[in-house]
């Protein structure tokens, strides 16, 4: 009994280690080239990662709306706009994501318009 349970424990530990490694790998791949949000500059192509702090639905007309969100890391925040979208699957408050695109602006704020995005699992440690 005890042996078996020890073996099971070992298995679990191994699995956990494997999962961690997998997340690490995932993070390493997804987060490659990510810069702190504070270093974002207008008209530069950037890749940043952060947490969704606020979500905004900006209606332009009855049909057309855009989803805006504020993405924050430890250094600052950036507005991310998904034009024409009302919602994006998995994008909710507190979600972690990587976005990549060229910095534009919206209403006097720096913003990424329709960037490429990845959702990250909670377990991934953000670099900044």
């Amino acid at each position: 009994m005890a042996r078996l349970s020890r073996a099971a424990k070992l298995d679990q530990a191994a699995l956990a280690a494997e999962t961690d490694a997998a997340f690490d790998e995932l993070g390493r791949v997804a987060l490659a080239g990510v810069i702190p949000i504070s270093q974002v500059e207008w008209r530069e192509p950037v890749k940043v990662a952060g947490r969704v702090k606020a979500l905004r639905v900006q209606p332009w007309s009855e049909k057309i709306q855009s989803l805006e969100l504020t993405l924050v890391d430890g250094t600052g925040g950036l507005t991310v706009v998904f034009l024409g979208r009302r919602r994006l699957g998995g994008v909710k408050l507190g979600a972690r994501m990587v976005v990549e695109g060229t910095v534009a602006e919206t209403r006097d704020h720096l913003a990424l318009l329709n960037p490429a995005y990845h959702l990250l699992p909670r377990e991934v440690t953000l670099p900044h």
């Binding site: 969704v52 702090k53 606020a54 979500l55 905004r56 639905v57 900006q58 209606p59 332009w60 007309s61 009855e62 049909k63 709306q65 805006e68 925040g77 009302r86 919602r87 909710k92 408050l93 507190g94 209403r107």
Partner: protein, 678 residues
């Protein structure tokens, strides 16, 4: 006269002021019913009093002291000192000494009246001559004195009542409190300083005392005046044999000091006299002093003849009256008349404090040494807050000391004599400083006055210290310290608020205006707030929801996106720790971060008519407003929505346009002084 131009044709003049249909609150209606219709400020009038009415108005405090001063002297000698029969030999000399002090005070205050005909009183005189801090000492001492005047007077009035009505003694505290309540009510209603109300009790008392003393003297001369037959308790007190030591004499003298309280009343009210005000006031003061002197002397002389012993349940005046008039027929009537007159003048004396305390408190509050609220005139143009404060304080004293005059007296004289001394010193300084004609006489009079009053203060302080004066001696410095702190606070505030105010008002305004509407759910309160926000046409307008519950937030976002509300974006902000205040604070700080933006937070708020409703809902809106108040350039506007309740218990809503919301929107809080960050 020109014909109306084309442009103006068809224009109407301004419409009459629309009637605003806001029902008065229940408490206000109750107040109006109790206190009478509210008075307009221009109804504030000051009656000018002739000498006889003025005497009645101002003398009640002073003259009423005669009702208990002799008793207190006897109480000290017989009960505290336990010297027995020999006490009655000392009553008259001590009374004479006190009358000498009274004489000095009258002479001194004649000077004050002349020097300060507009607004006299120890506080003003001290402030003018000795500086602000001594004035606060005088002010505090006087406020304590006025409070004690009420407590002592109503307690003494209660004692007059229970001397007359058998079996009333156990109810003396409720009786005394009842007197306070009646006086407070009358003053809140605004009993005018109308001499007629005062004249009756004051003159009745004078007549009663004159009659009693006169009749007593005649009886004594004819040898008819019998001594009081002592009951067991009194015999017990008389059976002591003791020697009267110097300290005991001083103690008795200090107890008698209560007799001269109220002398300052006339100097406080000189403007109320008919012209020439100061001359009339001086004459009245002398008349008042003489009458008090004669009455006090007469009562003390009678006391030394009939030898009454102060006991519970029957005052000395009552015993004297009984001895003088006897208990048969006519005597019974005169006995009742004397005691009723005594009771009435004592109530009137308490009433005097209700004129003086609120006024002095308002002076001090105007100098920023007491809370500002005390300067406000209330519903009926009286200083309501001062009246309420005085009532509470004096009622507390009555309760604490069991409406026992003998226990209150040791506290009484010290405060009054402290303010006398300061006022006299102030006058001395006044003469030396200004050197007006005949200033040397003034120096002599007020010099003597300050010396005598200072001596009495010291005597009272020492002899009465263990019996209760220590409370006042301890309280005065503490209270002065408190009000000096208070003043410091007010001054600091004033400095910050007034500093470069003009510059701040003309400074360039911030470039941007962001309006954030806090939304909890889409309902009528939110709709009202959004409608209002849209009239503001700011640079940026957002609805914000602080997401405490993800599910609720998601539903709201969904609902919102279907509404497509006038291109108004809804922002859902995370609030993982459920501290809404904090999240809003962060939101505001973010919006104002560039230093170029005025941020307005609109908070829809349900207004409840009844306390019951208020209880049912938390005060999140107020808490948020309070938190934001600290951020520079952050402003909070409540957008009210009135919930009303019909008699059937149904909620009906008011259509939210119109006068109601228009006025209530003014409830805007400003979070900054406009001069940038701090």
């Amino acid at each position: 006269m020109a014909a109306p131009t084309k442009d103006l044709a068809g224009r109407q003049p301004l419409p009459p002021t629309p009637k605003i249909d806001i029902p008065e609150s229940r408490s206000y209606r109750l107040k109006s019913k109790l206190l009478g219709k509210p008075l307009n400020t221009d109804q504030l009038e000051s009656e000018r009093l002739g000498k006889p009415t003025a005497l009645a108005t101002f003398a009640s405090d002073n003259l009423s002291s005669a009702a208990y001063a002799t008793e207190e002297i006897l109480h000290t000698l017989l009960v505290v000192g336990a010297v027995g029969l020999v006490a009655f030999d000392y009553v008259l000399p001590i009374t004479l000494a006190m009358i000498a002090v009274l004489g000095v005070l009258v002479l001194s205050y004649r000077q004050t009246i002349k020097a300060y005909p507009s607004a006299g009183g120890a506080y003003i005189v001290t402030k003018d001559n000795l500086g602000v801090l001594p004035a606060q000492v005088a002010g505090v001492a006087l406020l304590i004195g006025y409070t004690l005047t009420v407590s002592v007077s109503v307690s003494a009035a209660a004692s007059a009542l229970y001397s007359m009505v058998d079996g009333a003694y156990p109810y003396r505290i409720p009786i005394a409190l009842f007197f306070i309540a009646v006086i407070a009510f009358g003053n809140l209603r605004g009993v005018k300083e109308s001499g007629k109300i005062f004249a009756v009790p004051t003159y009745t008392f004078m007549v009663a005392m004159a009659f009693m003393v006169g009749y007593g003297v005649i009886k004594a001369l004819t040898g008819d005046l019998a001594e009081v037959t002592p009951d067991a308790e009194q015999a017990e007190e008389l059976s002591h044999v003791g020697t009267v030591g110097f300290f005991l004499i001083l103690q008795a003298f200090a107890s008698g000091g209560a007799a001269v309280t109220g002398v300052e009343a006339i100097s406080n009210g000189v403007p109320a006299f008919k012209e020439p005000a100061w001359k009339n006031a001086r004459t009245t003061l002398v008349i008042m002093g003489s009458i008090l002197g004669v009455m006090f002397l007469g009562i003390s002389w009678l006391a030394s003849q009939v030898k009454p012993v102060p006991v519970e349940g029957k005052t000395v005046v009552a015993q004297i009256a009984e001895a003088v008039y006897g208990s048969a027929g006519f005597g019974q009537v005169m006995f009742g008349f004397t005691l009723i007159a005594t009771m009435l003048i004592l109530v009137m004396a308490a009433n005097t404090s209700y004129a003086d305390f609120p006024r002095l408190a308002s002076f001090q509050a105007e100098d920023a040494f007491l809370p500002r609220q005390l300067t406000k005139r209330g519903h009926r143009l009286v200083f309501s807050n001062g009246i309420v404060a005085l009532s509470i304080a004096s009622a507390a004293l009555v309760l604490a000391f069991g409406a026992d005059v003998s226990r209150l007296i040791p506290l009484y004289a010290i405060g009054v004599f402290t303010s006398f001394t300061l006022a006299q010193l102030g006058m001395l300084r006044h003469h030396v400083r200004l050197k007006e004609p005949k200033w040397r006489t003034g120096v002599l009079i007020n010099g003597t006055g300050s010396l005598v009053t200072a001596l009495v203060t010291i005597v009272v302080g020492i002899t009465q210290f263990p019996k209760g004066a220590w409370m006042v001696i301890a309280a005065v410095p503490i209270l002065v310290w408190v009000i000096v702190r208070l003043n410091h606070q007010y001054e600091t505030e004033r400095e910050e608020l007034m500093g470069d105010a003009e510059l701040a008002a003309t400074a360039p305004i911030l470039r941007r205006h962001t309006v954030l509407v806090l939304i909890d759910r889409i309902d009528r309160t939110a709709a009202r707030a959004i409608q209002y926000a849209r009239t503001l046409t700011p640079d940026e307008l957002r609805a914000v929801h602080i997401a405490v519950e993800d599910q609720h937030a998601a539903e709201l976002a969904d609902q919102w996106s279907h509404l497509a509300l006038a291109r108004l974006p809804l922002e859902i902000r995370e609030c993982p720790d459920r501290r809404i205040n904090r999240s809003v604070l962060e939101l505001v700080a973010e919006a104002a971060a560039d230093g170029q933006t005025e941020v307005t937070i609109l908070i829809p708020r349900r207004e409840y008519r009844s306390a019951w409703h208020r209880l049912l809902h938390d005060r999140t809106a107020d808490a948020i407003a309070k938190a934001i108040g600290d951020v520079p350039h952050a402003n909070v506007t409540f957008v009210p929505y009135h919930l009303t309740q019909t008699s059937h218990g149904q909620h009906i809503h008011k259509v939210a346009h119109g006068a109601v919301s228009g006025t209530a929107n003014a409830a805007t809080r400003k979070g900054d002084n406009g001069s940038g960050g701090r």
